[in-house]
């Protein structure tokens, strides 16, 4: 039986499947840093509160745990959509490689389970558990968040450096070495880069909320403390991130030369390759515009051979096994954005450190606070740009040199519709999330009207009391 509506929509599902995957992942990844690092920040505040009997820190920890409940729930939902999508959008990929690619997810599931359990205990246990016991129930969340994201990134890294399997003559996977799958070549650096990114982004994002508050004149100790905890963690992590990123770039130079050529905008294999800031490839594959810094790309790729380091160009592989010109331009632009913003964030972190080093307090000026307020959203942009480098730079492969994207996608042309519906739903969800978080913070600030339970799970108030609460 053929379906008329599906025939009418006889479009190519591949671009839509890609668009939907990219869109939903890009949304999910914004919530991930909060899931990974916010608990840590909360525990820092919680520790301070218990150790130094600091009421401001206690209040911060308690409020953060309530916001976390909301962002974690939304992260869980968007994550569940992703697990549906692996099958719905890439059935042929999962059918062929599921036995290898799926391995890290078996462990990721455990970590998320642990995270979900302890986050519920931590959020709801404030009053009834003993203070230090309660503090310790937060620690598994930090560990599980870390290991959970490492597992997911291990799967993504496997797509960059597939290993740990044996194929038969027909190309079917006949044997799997799970350790080799998880600890593939790309995994250590990519996972480290992601985890550090989670702390950078989470820290800057939360600090930016308090920076905004301080700009609006709320310069009390509570706001300063909230800012300091979050910003300090981010500031410490930023240089680490640059170091890991540098190592990762050299890994790409060695193992994915085509992606590297796209990153550095190198059409022809050569030495003394300039680091081109901005600029793009024209339709003939020539570099146009931009600001070339002579020899820097070669030098960075391998300082030991300096400017004479040879960088493989895009022309080294056939056109159908490398990203298209527009994809190359996307990758290069995303790269410039990541490194540019990463450097900017690092400079901001230096400013902050200088303030503490020379004046024993954080910089107080409006310029600094305005930049700090912008740093959160900019860190998110940096993170997204990094993923675009990784994903688009790997094109046309879904599994590097093993499977092409068009061979992996679903054959259901209905993807167009799901793409549109998903975009609309996520848009509504994003608006709702922002409004809800703002409403929470207003209510905290107003100091009243916070009669209702604010976390997304169950209350335990007697029914009568709740009845009054929910009928304002």
């Amino acid at each position: 039986m053929e379906v008329p509506t599906l025939v009418a929509l006889a479009v190519d599902p591949v671009p839509w499947a890609r668009a939907q995957m990219a869109f939903t992942l890009a949304c999910h990844i914004i919530l991930v840093p909060l899931g990974v690092s916010w608990t840590f920040l909360t525990l820092v505040a919680n520790y301070r509160a218990l150790r130094h009997d600091d009421p401001d820190a206690l209040l911060l920890a308690q409020r953060w745990s309530k916001y976390m409940a909301v962002t974690f729930a939304v992260g869980a939902v968007t994550g569940t959509v992703l697990s549906f999508e692996f099958g719905l959008l890439w059935p042929r990929f999962m059918g062929r490689w599921g036995e290898a690619f799926g391995v890290p997810f078996a462990f990721e599931g455990i970590f998320f389970f642990t995270e979900a359990i302890f986050i519920a205990i931590y959020i709801f246990g404030w009053r009834r558990l003993r203070p230090w016991t309660h503090f310790w129930t937060g620690v598994p969340i930090v560990l599980a968040g870390l290991l959970g994201s490492v597992s997911v990134v291990a799967a993504n890294a496997w797509m960059n450096a597939p290993s740990g399997f044996t194929l038969d003559a027909q190309g079917n996977v006949v044997e799997v070495d799970p350790v080799q799958v998880i600890f593939n070549d790309a995994m250590p650096l990519q996972a480290a880069h992601m985890v550090v990114a989670a702390y950078v982004v989470g820290g800057f994002l939360i600090a930016s909320v308090y920076a905004t508050g301080m700009l609006r004149g709320r310069r009390d100790r509570y706001h300063r403390l909230g800012f300091t905890i979050a910003f300090t963690v981010a500031a410490v992590m930023t240089p680490v991130q640059m170091g890991v990123g540098d190592a990762l770039a050299r890994w790409v130079y060695d193992e994915q030369p085509t992606k590297f050529a796209a990153i550095e905008l190198v059409p022809k294999t050569s030495s003394a390759v300039p680091e081109t800031l901005l600029g793009h490839l024209d339709s003939d594959g020539q570099v146009q515009g931009g600001l070339p810094i002579p020899g820097l790309a070669s030098w960075l790729s391998d300082p030991s051979t300096g400017r004479s380091t040879v960088v493989q160009g895009l022309d080294a592989v056939p056109a159908d096994t490398r990203p298209t010109t527009s994809q190359v331009n996307t990758v290069h632009l995303a790269w410039d954005v990541m490194v540019g913003l990463g450097t900017a964030l690092f400079l901001l972190a230096l400013w902050y450190a200088a303030g503490w080093a020379f004046r024993r307090r954080m910089p107080q000026g409006r310029t600094f606070l305005a930049l700090a307020a912008a740093a959160g959203p900019l860190a998110v942009v940096t993170l997204e740009a990094g993923w675009i480098v990784t994903e688009v730079g790997r094109q046309p492969w879904i599994v590097y040199q093993r499977m092409r994207v068009e061979d992996a996608a679903t054959t259901n042309s209905g993807v167009v519709i799901t793409f549109i519906v998903v975009c609309l739903l996520y848009l509504l969800g994003a608006v709702a999330l922002v409004l809800v978080l703002r409403a929470m913070s207003r209510r905290f600030r107003r100091g009243g009207g916070f009669t209702d339970d604010d976390a997304p799970y169950g209350p335990s108030a007697p029914a009568e009391q709740r009845e009054e609460a929910s009928v304002p």
Binding site: V3, K66, V70, V74, A76, V77, T78, T80, V81, S83, F84, G87, M94, G95, W97, G98, E99, G102, A106, F107, G109, F113, A116, I117, F118, A120, F124, G125, W126, R127, L129, P140, V173, E175, V176, P178, T410, N412, G414, V421, L425, Y426, A432, V436, R445, G447, G449, F450, T451, D452, D453, D454, Y457, G458, P459, P462, A463, R466, E467, S470
Partner: protein
């Protein structure tokens, strides 16, 4: 080893239906609780019942997916290619439900609460129906083997899918009602105990009627599974039916003590019966479990992960349930200083 992995998959699926299913059913009672005034009390019991464990219950489904795609990738590809529509609807339903649930509690104004509440409740019906329809499509042999797409429409709009979908909705509604009777008893709200007892009775009778309909439909539309249910899986099916009968009797007599346990036993037995009835097939009758399985290395990993999960997750889960049921996880955790005293 294949058999063990398939068993683990079935057990995890059962856990999802028993734990997650009740959450969906609770959403259905939320939907039918009436306007804001009248519905406030039942809704309070529902929210109390879903409680802090909502998030954790949800992860069972992820385990189902992960085991399916890792251990049985080819069958998984066939299923997702063929049953694209109901699976997509279920995914969208899960988004709506999660977001609606998460936000509704935070929003104070009744107007917005109602929107989020509606999203939460409506999708609570959509998801069990769609997942039931998926199960029906698989059970009735409408998903081909070999990572190929079957019929995109008939695979989920067919007698078995419809009846299993409706049964799914009724079953989770019943389970939730039984569970909510217990919650209402715990918070000492006698009126709500009766409220949910009536609903448990009605939905339980509906489940019984649907089981009869399902038997008739399956006997002609899903013959392999029907034969299985009347032979291999017969003991489990009988346990399910007896459990249902027992629970209904206790509900009628207003002897509410063991009802919750019987509810869980019934639902678990029915799901397990369905799984055992399909044996040895994963996709009756085109793909056997043994033929569908991934290489040994992968299966070992899945089993190791399952064992680790038992060691790590189960104690945590038990702790969460115990804390919750002893009311140690109070309200939103802690009152804010900004709260009016």
């Amino acid at each position: 080893m294949t058999t063990v992995v398939a068993t683990v998959l079935l057990l995890v699926l059962t856990a999802y239906v028993v734990f997650g299913g009740a959450d969906f059913g609770a959403g259905l009672w939320d939907l039918t609780a009436g306007d804001a005034d009248k519905g406030a009390r039942p809704r309070a019991v529902v929210e109390h019942g879903i409680g802090p464990v909502w998030e954790a219950n949800h992860v069972w489904l992820i385990f189902v997916f992960v085991i399916a795609w890792t251990a049985f990738p080819e069958a998984y590809a066939s299923i997702t290619l063929t049953l694209f529509v109901p699976l997509t609807l279920a995914a969208l339903g899960i988004v709506l439900r999660g977001a609606g649930f998460a936000f509704r509690k935070v929003v104070v104004q009744t107007r917005y609460r109602r929107w989020f509440g509606a999203a939460f409740a409506a999708s609570s019906v959509l998801v069990p129906y769609c997942l039931g329809a998926v199960a029906g499509g698989i059970a009735s042999g409408r998903v081909p083997a070999g990572g190929r797409a079957g019929d995109p429409v008939d695979s989920w709009i067919n007698p078995t899918s419809v009846v299993v979908g409706v049964l799914g909705v009724a079953l989770v509604a019943w389970l939730a009602a039984v569970y909510l009777v217990w919650v209402a008893r715990r918070v000492g709200d006698a009126e709500m105990v009766q409220y949910f007892r009536r609903r448990a009775l009605v939905s339980g009778l509906l489940v019984a009627a649907l089981l009869v309909v399902a038997a008739v439909v399956l006997s002609s539309d899903a013959t392999y599974v029907f034969d299985g249910l009347t032979s291999r899986a017969a003991p489990l099916a009988v346990v399910g039916v007896l459990g249902l009968g027992g629970a209904l009797t206790l509900l009628t007599l207003d002897a509410l003590r063991g009802v919750r346990l019987l509810g869980v036993v019934t639902v678990a037995a029915l799901v397990l019966a369905g799984g055992v009835a399909m044996w040895p097939y994963l996709l009756p009758t085109s793909l056997e479990v043994s033929a569908a399985a991934a290489p040994d290395g992968t299966l070992t990993t899945v089993l190791v992960a399952a064992a680790v999960a038992v060691v790590i997750v189960v104690p945590g889960f038990v702790l969460l349930y115990v804390l919750d049921q002893r009311d140690l996880l109070e309200e939103e955790g802690v009152a804010d200083v900004a709260d009016p005293v």
